[in-house]
């Protein structure tokens, strides 16, 4: 039987590949920039390796899908703080990726944890670590709190949209540089070798474990993926000000094109890494740059009046919260993707009907549906009676889950070329999605003002 090792993609990828090279794993395609999901080892032909987002590795090892894994300890703690389990063993600090998970506030808010504990106001916490955040809030005995999970850019939210952000950073100085003040540290981010307890007890892992345990790496500080500096705040906003959220990441270039065509002047968004709060040439409008996936929740919570996101993320939000006040105000038409149901090419199923028949015949007893769109996937499986099913949330690199770690994938694609390259086939199209402007039905900004901003954006069509 092959031993299974889960490896990280992203910021730990380069150092992990260096470590594995040093002990002679001879992985054929795993280095800082590689995009292969299943690198093969020359030295250990019986070793099966797969590349995941770090957050998935702790989960995969806990489930027993992988015997060993390498990921930041922060993601192990994030899992175990909500689901205490002895299934994951922390074997060794590998010496790179050092840093802390900080509880931080904006330098402009001038608050302490004791202030928050003593107060009766709701404490809003934005974070990529919702389980750690909840455990922290309970431990601190905040009387009332809200954890607002985000997929990134948590540092952008305080002070206007959150009292606290729980974020990973290499040092306090980095936090200060981003306009944040560390109030507490609740974990470390160092790369760790972890193992599944059952595998440790029952399998001989020594061939792989031995070299990994022998090799010592001096502690290396890696630069974390860049975060935005919050040098300013919105300050006191005049009544009726429109708060607009613009996307970072892949959607940024499309949005820049729209803004340029509409003749909207901007400072701090149109070139390179965007500012946290770029300036926009529309009177009475302020801007923050956040992840498009996080926008519907933020608009629902009245942190923003308008946001440019994708309809896919809006629907994912509405499927979870059907009475949410968020609505689509303007279809921007660009960034078209299809949301698809996908299986591995080896699965003898070519349509949803085939899939249902195969399930009925008992050949596919339990369906695991991997997706970044947790709520769209859940609704699709529920509406199509694919029971019993289990949703496997993913945080990127979703294609890699098929066929070993999931049976179905619900994923977006522009052309489908990436899916085909990963030996996957499309068996159903759930919907088409384009970029759109969303708003809150109960917005505090005036309807006329919202209409005015939308009219200006329409010039970009």
């Amino acid at each position: 039987m092959k031993l299974k090792l889960a490896l990280p993609k992203g910021w730990l990828q380069g150092s992990t590949s260096e470590l594995l090279d040093r002990i002679g794993f001879g992985l054929d395609d795993y280095h800082e920039k590689s995009r292969s999901y299943r690198p093969l080892s020359e030295k250990y032909p019986d070793l099966f390796t797969k590349v995941f987002h770090e957050k998935d590795i702790a989960i995969q090892v806990a489930l027993g899908n992988y015997d060993l894994g390498i990921c930041g300890l922060d993601w192990v703690d994030e899992l175990l703080s909500k689901y205490p389990s002895d299934a994951v063993l922390k074997i060794k600090n590998l010496g790179y990726g050092s840093g802390n998970v900080y509880v931080a506030a904006s330098k402009f808010s001038n608050i302490t944890i004791d202030d928050l504990k003593a107060g009766s106001d709701i404490v809003r916490i934005t974070t990529e670590y919702p389980n750690l955040a909840e455990a922290y809030a309970l431990k601190q005995r905040f009387r009332r709190f809200m954890v607002l999970p985000v997929l990134g850019a948590a540092e952008v939210y305080p002070p206007e949209n959150a009292e606290l952000a729980i974020i990973a950073e290499t040092s306090k100085d980095e936090l200060y540089a981003r306009g944040l003040v560390p109030l507490d540290a609740i974990g470390i981010t160092n790369a760790f070798l972890i193992a599944n307890r059952d595998s440790m007890e029952k399998l001989d892992l020594s061939g792989v474990l031995g070299p990994l345990l022998k090799e010592n790496i001096a502690e290396i500080k890696l630069a974390r993926p860049s975060k935005k500096a919050a040098a300013t705040t919105w300050g006191l906003l005049a009544k009726g000000t429109v708060r607009l959220a613009l996307p970072d990441g892949h959607q940024q270039k499309h949005t820049i094109r729209l803004l340029e065509r509409a003749g909207i002047e901007m400072n701090g968004y149109l070139q390179g890494e965007p500012d946290c709060r770029p300036e926009i040439g529309i009177d009475g409008t302020v801007v923050k740059v956040i992840r498009p996936q996080d926008m519907p929740l933020q608009v629902a919570n009245a942190n923003f009046d308008l946001a440019i996101t994708g309809r896919d993320w809006l629907l994912d939000h509405l499927y979870k919260f059907p009475s949410s006040p968020v609505e689509e105000l303007l279809d921007l038409g660009y960034g078209k993707v299809r949301i698809l149901l996908v299986v591995h090419n080896d699965v003898p199923v070519n349509s949803l009907v085939d899939l249902k028949e195969t399930m009925k015949s008992g050949k596919l007893a339990k369906i695991r549906v991997a997706s970044e769109y947790i709520n769209i996937a859940d609704k699709y499986a529920r509406d199509n009676h694919l029971a019993p099913y289990r949703i496997v949330p993913t945080w990127g690199a979703s294609e890699s889950f098929l066929p070993e770690d999931a049976d179905l994938l619900i994923e977006n694609a522009e052309t489908g070329a990436t899916l085909a390259k990963n030996n996957l086939k499309i068996i159903d199209t759930l919907m088409e999605s384009t970029a759109c402007v969303i708003g809150n039905k109960n917005t505090a900004a005036g309807k006329d003002k919202i209409a005015q901003v939308l009219d200006i954006l329409k010039r970009g069509f």
């Binding site: 205490p84 709701i122 309970l138 431990k139 009332r144 809200m146 954890v147 949410s324």
Partner: protein, 403 residues
């Protein structure tokens, strides 16, 4: 494919439900006769009802079933009710705080994660809460009521373990470390050992007070001599024990039994039978202000239905029906069935359990078998007697006489 029940939960089968309903009936009957009125709170509550300092400990909050509701985009979570008393405190503040005294009782299910497999993740409790300025007499009334319920349920050998939250807090005030204090309040086994490393003298005193049990004023006076600054709590306990002595109640002073809950402020009591914990309660004068209402003293208790059921046998339930009858219509003819429906309704009215045979049924377990078409044939199983060709009135006459 058989779908099993959810992990950590329990099905209640007919024999279990008979016990369950029996406990419910006895509890509710007793409460009503003591002047309590039944209420029911929702299964879903806001998490922040329970996160307010002084309600549930972080350890207990770490095991609640919490989730975002369908309209929970704000990030505020709701929980499946993990505790019975706190929602009652909320209900009182929201709906009933006008009156001077509220005597409330409830039968509700509570939810908390349980990983050992020894307990269900859904527990049922019969609870009573006495809200108002009742003083020690209220605490004693609750103990008496709980004991009366257990007595009526024929649970013998019940021991009341008494403690006092003020006493525990007074002792733990000296601990210093908030983390260790929390462990002690949670009743963690190794906490006193851990304290030895920090404050040996205090650890020694705590071992003494938590490790030794006793009874009566003499024992309390001994403890008072060791902890002279906690006189008020000892005064409470002396009065409670005097009242319990007067009522002939079997109790023991067991101060460690007050650990584990955070909202208690005064007398705390636990009810045990052969080391099975059947329930407990106490005074919680600061809880209602914490969940939003003005200063209102209160105390209450809950009995754990599952633990009580484990001690009882189904035979302990007295069947109050007049007897069981199986009715076997000779045909599906509408007129025949109408006559049988009429007969069965009238038999139920006079106290019989009447079943109409829907498919072939085993006749064992029935006291009477009634068959026929236009007329009725009656078999009395206990005396092996048979009566043929009876009218509806004749059947009723005969069975009424046999009740």
């Amino acid at each position: 494919m058989k779908i099993p029940r959810c992990k950590g939960t329990r099905d209640l089968l007919p024999a279990d439900m008979a016990l369950f309903r029996h406990i419910e009936r006895i509890f509710m009957d007793s409460c009503i006769k003591w002047g309590y009125k039944e209420v029911r709170t929702p299964t879903l509550e806001y998490l922040h009802l329970f996160t307010s300092a002084g309600t549930l400990t972080p350890e207990m909050l770490g095991r609640v079933y919490s989730f975002l509701d369908w309209d929970g985009w704000s990030g505020e979570r709701v929980v499946l009710r993990p505790d019975g008393t706190i929602p009652i405190a909320r209900l009182y503040g929201e709906c009933l705080s006008e009156g001077s005294l509220a005597k409330l009782c409830y039968i509700e299910n509570l939810f908390a994660f349980e990983g050992t497999g020894q307990e269900s993740r859904e527990r049922w409790e019969c609870g009573a809460e006495l809200i108002g300025d009742t003083g020690i007499n209220g605490d004693v009334e609750l103990i008496m009521l709980a004991l009366e319920v257990l007595k009526k349920l024929c649970v013998s050998g019940v021991e009341v373990r008494l403690s006092h939250a003020g006493l525990i807090r007074g002792l733990l005030d000296e601990v210093g470390s908030s983390e260790l204090l929390q462990k002690l309040i949670d009743g963690k086994k190794d906490a006193v050992n851990e304290l030895k490393g920090v404050n040996k003298e205090l650890a020694k005193k705590l071992s003494l007070i938590f490790g030794v049990t006793g009874k009566g004023k003499g024992y309390l006076d001994n403890l008072r001599a060791i902890f002279p600054n906690l006189s008020a709590a000892f005064d409470d306990l002396v009065k409670v024990t005097e009242l319990l002595d007067g009522a002939g109640c079997n109790y023991k002073l067991h101060l460690a039994s007050g650990l584990g809950f955070e909202y208690y402020t005064g007398t705390v009591f636990q009810l045990y039978c052969r080391e099975a914990k059947l329930g407990g309660g106490g005074r919680y004068d600061e809880l209602i202000p914490l969940v939003g209402d003005g200063p209102t003293p209160a105390s209450g208790f809950a009995l754990y239905v599952g633990h009580i059921m484990d001690l009882m046998e189904p035979a302990e339930i007295v069947d109050i029906s007049a007897g069981k009858i199986l009715i076997k219509p000779a045909s599906d003819d509408v007129d025949v069935l109408k006559r049988f429906y009429e007969l069965s309704t009238r038999l139920r009215d006079i106290g019989y359990v009447v079943e109409i045979e829907l498919c072939s049924q085993d006749e064992a377990g029935y006291d009477w078998i009634i068959s026929g078409g236009k007329e009725f044939d009656v078999i009395e199983k206990s005396g092996d007697k048979e009566y043929e060709g009876l009218s509806v009135d004749e059947v009723l006459q005969r069975l009424e006489a046999a009740r």
